[in-house]
Amino acid sequence: MSNATIVTGKTSSGLVRRGLIEAFFAALISFGMFVLYIGLKTDQNIHNELIIVQRWGLLAIFVAIAAIGRFAVIVFLRPHLDERKLSKARSGELEISTDKTFLQKHFLKFALILMILYPMIVVGIVGAQGSLLYVDNFGIQILIYVMLAWGLNIVVGLAGLLDLGYVAFYAVGAYSYALLSTHFGLSFWLLLPLSGIFAALWGVILGFPVLRLRGDYLAIVTLAFGEIIRLVLINWTDVTQGTFGISGVPKATLFGIKFDASADGFAKIFHLPMSSAYYKIFLFYLILALCMLTAYVTIRLRRMPIGRAWEALREDEIACRSLGINTVTTKLTAFATGAMFGGFAGSFFAARQGFVSPESFVFLESAVILAIVVLGGMGSLTGIAIAAVVMVGGTEILRELDFLKAVFGPDFTPELYRMLLFGLAMVIVMLFKPRGFVGSRSPTAFLKESKSVSGSFTKEGHG
């Protein structure tokens, strides 16, 4: 014990010195990195000429953040963490504790109840009109990504097939609904399953040529597939109207009740004041139900032979073949099932927006969905849902942070830093949780007790 105090006492002045030196280097490096990106900005002046705007103040803020952050880590955070680790080791307290708290045990139930009550709480606090922002931008937007990520999870997380073109199925679903409803007037409830089936068909069509590919090769071909679908949507102008997109896509109805101002609209029937909030709340419950369907089917499938075969395929394809599993059909069903949920989400998206265009189905979307799956922990529904809340909710919050303008000046638009912050957040999460938020998997069958399998044993799949 005395030894330790001597060590800390001896170094405390040395620690500050080291902190200052490291802070200086951090400042130097961040200056070098940011001087061209943040210090200088190209802009147009009133004569439409290209000029360089110098932003030394903003640059100074960035550099100062880096230096102060580094200093704080060296002088305060690290010694604190070391001391905590040491005292834990002394007291013999182990990191692993097997008993869960009440909250941990019932986390999923609480989360579901909270989701069901969410629109009512929001309406209760900010009123029907004010709830639009929270229900639509946060609730629906996040849930769409939860559903997409859960769908992709079947392909990437369970079957271990890296798919970089998932957004293609989302596009197929959206355009199926947009085209069939505007041209033939079919209802949302008929087109929802149809869009899923169309997307699943495209999943099989993609599946066939890529069956023999693995790893990087598979990723590249799926990426190309996503681009092909988008380019077809842009160039097949007779049907898709190209980059103009399809507007006036009919809204979804609740058992035939429309959400508009007409006499038999939702508001009139229930004698409520007219508001667009009802439709948003309806959409919220609709996408929540679709998410629950995805989760239910995924959980059930994992306990069925096909789900086990997917996971076995991720672990070792050759061993699968030696056990009589037809890997071709197993991969195809994984592609088709994942694509089907993408299609559902797509038709929902079209009904919500009332407008679809190829702009919504760029590669970045695929990347974001894949990032959510990886960040959440491949195969874990809970982890993926948390990752979707963090990634998509985080983006939406950035739009709302007006006070940042007070700090960084009136020109500062936080949305533009979205990708920077995204990348930063991903690097940090992957450093501390390399297997995602939830890295372990729960077994699908057990004899005595169900022990979760640590992420160090599961494989990521190789294509």
């Binding site: 499938l301 086990r308 996971e311 009589g324 077994p443 069958a445 004899l447 169900s450 399998v453 640590s454």
Partner: protein, 287 residues
């Protein structure tokens, strides 16, 4: 087939496998009898694993015929079937030289994956099972019972809920055999099951293989370097060198075959006759 007697389980005729210019197996023929433990031995690089890969469909042989004759009288031409159908229909299961377990799945799940085809049928190819119609629940229970049976046989019942990758090496070997047995095969092909095992684990393995044969009537074809395993449990030994068969018979016959001794001790070709003469002389002296 007229030449196939009912106690022949597997008949390999004129099997050849060429990789580019390399003749890995050259006109290799043998028969494995039903209920026998047949061992395939030979120096490193003799082509033993290649023969296995041809039998189990992982390679398509350049030439030759591989006939599987089931108990029911059904015959299969294995060289024409894709690998997964060899396990599913012809009932030939295999293990691998470098263990291939599903390390992220639990021990029990590994054994359930092996019963995939049976369970797929019971679950109405997933659709009926998803809706909760039909006998999937009952069949799933039976599958767990079969898994429990093999876990007890392989002495893994206490580790049933642990990830397969967490097992010690010897236990992983036994689990791979148990997993192959869960496909309910008529012929079990084991590629060096005793590799890396200590003498005690080898003895446990021998007991397991004997139990498999006596209790289920499954015939076993194994590649092995560990002579204590080969000589103790096999009924029939085939020796392969440079892709060709050099000896075929009972363990005692093979043990004393001068060609085998030459292959293992590495005698020059022209010295083989000397060795043969020496062995004959010794045998004569013993008599």
């Amino acid at each position: 087939m007229s030449t196939l007697s009912s106690d022949t389980l597997l008949k390999v005729e004129h099997l050849s496998m060429k990789f580019g210019g390399l003749m890995a197996i050259n006109d290799f023929s043998f028969e494995a009898k039903r209920g026998d433990i047949t061992a395939l031995i030979g120096p490193n690089g003799a082509g033993k694993t290649t023969v296995f890969n041809c039998i189990t469909g992982f390679y398509k042989p350049t030439m030759g015929m591989i006939t599987m004759n089931q108990k029911s009288g059904k015959t299969f031409q294995l060289e024409r079937l894709p690998d997964f159908r060899i396990t599913r229909e012809a009932k030939v299961a295999r293990t691998f030289q470098n263990i291939r377990l599903f390390s992220g799945l639990t021990v029990l799940e590994n054994l359930l994956v092996a019963q995939h085809n049976k369970l797929m049928k019971a679950s109405g190819y997933t659709i009926l099972g998803l809706l909760g119609i039909g006998g999937y629940a009952k069949e799933a229970k039976n599958a767990i019972e079969l898994a429990r049976f093999w876990l007890e046989k392989a002495d893994l019942i206490d580790r049933a809920d642990d990830p397969a990758g967490d097992l010690p090496y010897g236990a992983q070997r036994r689990l791979e055999i148990a997993r192959a047995m869960c496909t309910e095969p008529e012929l079990l092909c084991l590629d060096e099951p005793a590799a890396g095992l200590n003498p005690r684990e080898s003895a446990v393995l021998n007991a397991l293989l004997r139990a498999i044969r006596s209790e289920t009537g499954t015939s076993i074809l194994l590649i092995e370097h560990d002579m204590s395993v080969v000589m103790e449990i096999s009924d029939h030994v085939i020796v392969l060198e440079y892709g060709q068969k050099i000896s075929d018979g009972t363990p005692d016959h093979v043990k004393n075959d001068p060609k085998v001794i030459a292959a293992y001790l590495g005698v020059e070709d022209d010295e083989v006759e000397d060795v043969i003469a020496e062995v004959e002389h010794l045998e004569g002296g013993a008599k």
